[in-house]
Each structure stands twice: as C-alpha cells, then as structure tokens.
C-alpha cells in the first residue's frame, strides 16, 4: 500500500461533504471486516450490518415498490419501483398495489430501467437502503420510469457467470411483460444501469442482448467495475487515498472470477487480450460516469475507448474531484449534474 497513510485519510475527508465521508468510511471499515484473507466472506455479518428497507406498496414521495420473484428456479428476486398511480384512477386505496402490476404507469412512452446495484459483486442487495433510495429517485428523475432492481447472486458464493445469468434472466423477464411496453409501437424501452459491479453486469448483459436480438435503448454505467492484470497509473497514484485500496479490488476479482483466472479474463477486462469483438453489433449507446478520484478510472476510460473503436456511441462524464459513491447522497454538484445527464439520456428518444 502507498505510504503516508495518515495524510491519505485526511485527503478523502477534504474532498467530500462530511456526511458522505461518514457514509463511505463506514462502508470501508465494515467491508474490511467481512473480507477474509483466505478469500472467504463473512456473509452473516454482512447481512447483519447491511441497512435494508422493505418494499412499500404505499406511495412514498410518489413512488411505490414491491418485491417480485422473476424466476422460481433460481429464486431470483427483484424490487420493482413504479410511479404511484393517480388515486382518482383507483376504486379502493388498498387496490393501488394490485393495479400497478396490471397497468402500465402511463399511456405515454416510459422508460424501463433494469438496475444492478454495486458492491463489487459481493456486497449489498436490492433492498439495501442506499440502493432503494437511489432507485426511488430514478423513478421520479426520469419522469415516471419503472425501475427494476435485480437481487443477483453474489460472490464469493456464486462466481462468474452467475450475476450475468441473473441479469440476462431479468432482461428476458422484462421483455415478456406486456405492461412494460409503451407508446404507439408498444415497445419495451429498456435501459441497463448499474454502479460499480452493477455497471460491469450491465455491460455484459447488453452484450448478450445484442447477440440475441433484444434491443436495449441505452446503458448507464456509474463508476463501473473493470480491471486488468496491468497496474495502471491511476491505480498506483490513488491506491489507498480515497476510500479504496488496490489489494481490496484484487480480493473482489479473485472472489468473482473463476478460480485460477487472472484479471485479463474478459469479465474483468472486456477490451483486453481476451475480449470479445463488438464491432458491427447493434450495441446500445452508453452513458459512462467516471470519478477522477476513483483508482480504477484508467480501466473505465479504456472501456470508453474500446466502445468508440468498435464504432459505438459513448457519452463520457468525467467528474473532477469526485470520489466513488458520490451518487448516494444528493449533496454535491456531481450528484445533481450527473442526475440531470441521466435524465436527458433516458428521455432523449422516448
């Protein structure tokens, strides 16, 4: 680890608001307790410490949510968020929840966002408070989107490709729901979105989608998790400085990738030596958000380059002085500006 550690801790405190510092430091310390040197994970303690919320079919800030099993065979759970229906449309208030499943939220075209939460493939669930809050905000932000947050199987108990399989199952499920189609052409306007490992999953599900003829309207990747064998400049320069240490990143890759694989595995390094060709495929446009204080940024920028070289549209938002996790609390310009870009990205061709 890089030296001068006491100074490092103070640096991260200076670049984020106090409550953000408290939140992310808390995660850093808690997560430290869960990773064991032998590669195992204290899942019980992780579930205990994770702050979760229940789904709520009563409108809260104009959004309702409910949990739904997408696939009985794998017990794949998702939390679905919808704009609350107009009370005038409903006979009995208690029937609100049931209507949501039957009716599209609007006669006009609306976006469907399949969201993959972050956590480096090991942490968090769709009921984690940080993600429940974020998904609720996305519903309103995007003018009444349906957000489907996937509770994918996590490592180290479930390695590659389980999370991708779950993402694919979710996309197939969504493509079979008549109530998710909208507009005169009754189209599913689906976006794949995620932060950290969720961003990585969104990419790989999109790849599977384009090979299978399912049309994705766009990908939204927030600080997506990519890597490679090489140590990049940003990794060396920022190691341990802003909440994240390189050895922790390595641990998560070892926990997710197949045993014996290295970080040039295509799951980790999609445009690396083992990457898959994307040229000529109808890959969706991508909104890529990179934080300048994220030590993995070189890999994210390389990802953007890889997409561009393959002829695909990338909108890159490079946020100076942003750290990981800036999108959890609405207390910075980074948060507000990125949310604005997400909104226009999603609504641009509705």
């Amino acid at each position: 680890m890089a030296g001068g550690n006491e100074v490092n801790v103070n640096e991260s405190r200076m670049v984020v608001p106090l409550n953000t510092f408290v939140l992310i430091s808390n995660f850093k310390i808690a997560y430290n307790m869960l990773r064991r040197p032998d590669g195992s994970f204290d899942r019980h303690l992780a579930e205990f410490l994770d702050r979760k919320v229940q789904a709520n079919a009563s409108p809260v800030n104009g959004v309702v949510s409910f949990d739904h099993i997408l696939d009985r065979q794998t017990n794949l759970l998702a939390r679905i968020y919808c704009p609350a229906p107009d009370p005038a449309d409903v006979e009995l208030p208690q029937l609100v929840a049931i209507y949501e499943l039957q009716k599209a939220p609007s006669p006009n075209p609306f976006p469907v966002i399949i969201f993959f939460h972050g956590g480096s493939f090991a942490h968090s669930t769709s009921s984690s408070a940080i993600y429940d809050t974020l998904c609720r905000r996305l519903v309103t932000l995007c003018g009444g989107a349906v957000v489907i947050s996937i509770d994918y199987r996590r490592s180290p108990e479930y390695r590659f490709p389980c999370a991708y399989d779950d993402g694919w199952t979710a996309l197939k499920w969504a493509s079979c729901q008549p109530w998710l189609r909208s507009g005169k052409d009754a189209k599913l306007r689906v976006f794949l979105a995620g932060d950290s490992s969720g961003g990585n999953i969104a990419h790989h599900v999109a790849v599977r989608a384009v090979h299978s003829g399912i049309n994705i309207s766009g990908n939204i990747l927030l600080n997506p998790l990519f890597g490679g064998n090489k140590r990049t400049e940003s990794e060396l320069k920022l190691d341990g400085k802003y909440f994240v240490a390189l050895q922790d990143r390595d641990w998560y890759w070892r926990a997710f990738l197949p045993e014996g694989a290295d970080r040039d595995h295509p799951a980790c390094n999609p445009f690396g030596p083992n990457g898959v060709e994307l040229e000529g495929l109808p890959f969706p446009k991508t909104l890529l958000v990179v934080a300048s204080l994220d030590l993995t940024q070189d890999w994210q920028l390389a990802y953007a380059e890889g997409l561009k070289k393959a002829g695909h549209e990338v909108q890159l938002l490079y946020r100076e002085q942003a750290t990981i996790g800036f999108y959890f609390l609405p207390n910075t310009e980074h948060y507000h500006e990125v949310m604005k870009e997400i909104k226009s990205f999603v609504r641009s061709d509705l």
């Binding site: 409550n19 408290v22 310390i29 204290d42 579930e47 702050r51 800030n61 949990d67 696939d71 499943l101």
Partner: protein, 512 residues
C-alpha cells in the same frame, strides 16, 4: 406470451402489498437540519442515524478507526474488532457502533445455542406446473379485487352486496388453481367472509386439537423454531454469570423451546446454573417430567412448576435468581379493548426480570377498520402459505403429509381476524414498531440482539428450512423473512432502571 416465459403467476400479488413499513424514510426534500439535535436527514435516508451535531465527532472517530486498522496491518496484527467473534449491535446507530469498536472490549466467549441438527426432510423443489398464464392470472387478480370489494361492503354493513359478491367469487374458484398460492389462501378468506355474514358461530375448539395443530405448524415451517432459538440465544446471554436462573414461559404448550436451552446451559463454560422453569397455560401432560428427565441426563439442576392459564400473578420469584420471561406469540392475545395487556406488562415488570423476550407476528391485524385488517391479513397469509408450500408442504400435493394441519392452524387465525370482534377477536397482531412504543410506555427498554444472535439464527435457518428464508436486523430486533418479506420478529427487553414499579395491588385474576 411465449411458452418459455418466466413465471408470473398470481402469487406475485402477495408481494405487491408490502406492509407499509419504511423505517429509513427517505426525506422529501434535501433540507439541511436546522437544529443540532436533529439527525442528518440524508444519512437517515440510507439507514444511518447520526445527529447532525455529532457528525464531526463521528467522522473523527472513523478516521481513528481507519488509522488503527492501517497501523495494525502494518504491524501484522489485526485489531480485535476485525476478528469474526466480535459482536456488533445496532449498526444504524453509527456513533455507538464505532465506539464499541474503538473501546476494543475483547470478544466475550459468548455461549451459543447448540442444537441437534434436527433436520426436516430435505424440501422438495417447489415448481409451479405450467398453466395458462393469462386467464388464470386474470382470474386470480379478479378474485382479489372481489375479496376486497366484499370486505369493503361488509365494512359499510351492506350484507346484501357482500352476499352477492361471495356467490360470484365461488363461481370464479374453479378457474384458479386452488391447490396453491393465491387460490388457496383466497378460499380461506372467502369462507371466513361467508361465515361472518352468515353469523355462524365459531367452531368449538378443543385444547387437544390446538396442541396437535400447533405441533404440525411447528414442524411445517421455521417460524416457531426461529422464535425459539432466537429467544433462547438472548436468554442464554442474559443468564451469563448467573448461578440460579428462572424461566417463566407464558405459554408452555409442548415445551418445545426448552430442551435446547437446557442443553446449552449444560454446556456453558463454567458449568450450568440451577434452572427453574415455570410453565403457564395449557400444556401437554407430563411435559414437566420430560424436561426434568432431560435436565437430569445432562446434569442441569432443574425444577418445574406449572401454573394455570392466566395466573401470572401467582408466579413467585426467589431472591437472587435471574428471571427470564418468555412470550412467544402471546402478548397480542391481550390487546382487545377490555384486554389486560397493561396489567400483564405491569405484573411482568414487578417480577423484575433480567430479560423479557417477546416474539410477535410482523403484521398489523389490529387496525380499527375492517377492510384494512382484511387486506393486511390477505397479503400476510398469502406470504405465509407460499412459504409453507415451498417448505415441502402445500399445493395439491397429498404426498407430503404435514402441510394440511399446518394450514388449518393458520386458517383458524384467519377466521379469528375476519369473523370475530370484541373480546372474541384475539389474533390482534401488531408490528414490532407498535410493541416498541407499548413496551416503552410500560417501562421497558430494548436489549439489542446482536450480530452473534443474527449469525446463529442464519445458520440454524439454513439447517431447518428451504431457500427463500432469511434473517433481517431492524432496530435491534431480528425478523424471519420470506423472500424479503418480514413474517415474525423476535426482541428482548429489560425494565428501565428509572421506571418505578407500582406496589402490587391485591390479587388480580388475569383472564386470557
């Protein structure tokens, strides 16, 4: 819809009406907290309670913790709090969580519940036969609409409309698979509504029948087992260091909770205490004898005392003994308008227990309006039936024997909630949030069940139950969940030091 469509059967309805609890309520606007005593609203929105005035302090302590970890790593010695046996409490209260780590109390060699690996037969995988998705789903949704409309008409005393709706619903039933899911639970609710407006008397119950149904329910799903092993873990920890302990069980029944505690006490480092067990209420014959025999065989000095139902006031505690009072699914029975909940809680406090364990259904079936109660119950019991089915019973599967009585057990609760009123309606489940207020008013404060209890519960659940069950921690209590939906919550309490205990009035006969 394509043939290989992912399943979307009407069961999903039970998930759509989550029980309205949102403990970490996201704030409507991003306001700054104006007063120092207020909590930071943004952190509250993501599950953490930190006073705004405390933020700086908490940040400092986080930095200190971080430096400790770094320094320890450099020295090659991980700090105490990183070891897996460290126990954590109430992670939402960041300030106290961090403090508990910083004060680095060496982890207690916490005694743990030791259970025989009494496994249910491995649950058979639950698969729904392919069915005509569209038609059946529509019928299921229509049935639920009708049920609620019928309940609404009953609330408005329009029994004529209610009767016609019931007739209409009976015509729908053949269109839905009634062997599982929403169909099965709808039948029970439909029958209950019918019973209510027909003014049929409640079927007579026998104590023996109750006991049989209870033991089938106990076997069929992990709910009661969860209640028992979570309460036992808390009691065990509370009894740490005590030589003479007294457990008072408010409803002994078959005494299923106690063999595990006796065995755990036998294995306690330092040797077992002398254990007195007082069992209140209906109990199977010779339960005391059987427990005494077990205790003798594992070397725990034991004595047993049976007390008639409702005679908590006749229980005596001896000076110097640590008392645990255990209430599994009992307190809600006392909540009717004329119910004795307040006097019972006072009596409990007067016994000066070291710990009071309270386990209750996580549902609100005591709302004043009939329609509200009905709706909550419909979705709660749908979830329960769904979980029963996945636990190896249910569906129209006659090959698995023990589900039907377990369902009858639940059906009785449904009938009570839907058909009865006044003092006859005893299944007045309330969520833990309300119990917290009630127990607080009665002079109790929560004892947080920590990560150790959580871990135990998770591991035991894995042994006993099928996929889909989980444990959730909320504000120091542990809940059993089914696909994320909370079913039953276990909690522990002690009398607040400052709460005055009123001198006992003359003997009160508590009826329950």
């Amino acid at each position: 819809m394509p043939k290989d469509a992912i399943d979307t059967n009407p069961l999903v309805l039970r998930n759509t009406f989550a029980m309205g609890r949102h403990p970490y309520h996201p704030q409507p606007t991003d306001e700054d907290s104006s007063s120092a005593s207020e909590t930071d609203t943004l952190l509250a929105g993501v599950g953490y309670t930190v006073r705004s005035s405390d933020l700086l302090n908490v940040a400092d302590r986080l930095e200190k913790l971080d430096s400790t970890i770094i320094a320890a790593a450099a020295a090659g010695v991980p700090p105490e709090f990183l070891c897996s046996s460290a126990v954590h409490y109430n992670p939402s209260d960041l300030a106290s969580w961090i403090d508990s780590l910083l004060t680095e109390v060496p982890p207690q060699s916490s005694p743990s519940m030791w259970m025989d690996a009494v496994c249910l037969p491995p649950p058979s995988s639950f698969s729904i036969d392919a069915h005509r998705l569209g038609e059946e789903e529509d019928a299921g949704i229509r049935l639920v609409h009708l049920l609620m409309t019928c309940a609404d008409s009953i609330q408005h005393d329009d029994h004529v409309l209610a009767r016609s709706l019931i007739d209409e619903m009976r015509l729908l039933l053949p269109l839905i698979g009634v062997g599982y899911g929403i169909g099965k639970v709808s039948i029970f609710f439909l029958d209950a509504l019918d019973r209510r407006i027909s003014f049929l008397p409640q079927p007579t119950k026998s104590v023996l029948e109750d006991e049989i149904l209870y033991s089938h329910f106990y076997e069929a799903c992990p709910n009661i087992k969860f209640a028992h092993f979570t309460a036992n873990q808390a009691i065990l920890e509370a009894f740490n260091g005590c030589d003479r302990v007294h457990v008072i069980d408010l409803s002994l029944m078959h005494g299923l909770q106690w063999p595990a505690l006796i065995q755990a006490l036998a294995l306690r480092p330092g040797g077992p205490p002398a254990l007195r067990l007082t069992g209140i209420g209906p109990q199977t014959p010779k339960v005391g004898l059987r427990l005494a025999e077990l205790a003798r065989s594992v070397g725990v000095p034991f004595s047993f005392h049976a007390v008639a139902a409702g005679r908590l006031d006749s229980v005596r505690v001896k000076p110097g003994e640590a008392v645990a009072i255990n209430s599994v699914l009992q307190l809600h029975l006392l909540l009717s308008e004329t119910g004795p909940i307040d006097s019972v809680l006072t009596l409990i406090r007067e016994l000066r227990p070291k710990i009071l364990t309270v386990v209750e259904q996580e549902a609100d079936h005591n709302k004043p309006a009939f329609l509200d109660r009905f709706t909550e119950a419909l979705f709660y019991y749908s979830t329960l039936f769904d979980s029963l089915a996945a636990s190896g019973g249910g569906g129209g599967r006659v090959d698995v024997g023990c589900s039907a009585p377990a369902e009858v057990y639940l059906q009785r609760e449904i009938c009570n909630i839907v058909c009865c009123e006044g003092s006859e309606r005893v299944e007045r489940h309330e969520p833990m949030g309300r119990w917290r207020v009630r127990l607080g008013r009665a002079g109790f404060e929560p004892m947080h069940l920590g990560s150790n209890a959580f871990r135990q519960a998770s591991m035991l659940l894995k042994l006993f139950s099928s996929e889909g069950y989980g444990v959730e921690e909320v504000e120091g209590c542990l809940s059993l969940s089914w696909h994320g939906r909370l079913l039953i919550t276990a909690s522990a309490w002690r009398a607040r030091a400052d709460s005055a205990v009123a001198p006992p009035a003359c003997h009160r006969y508590i009826v329950w």
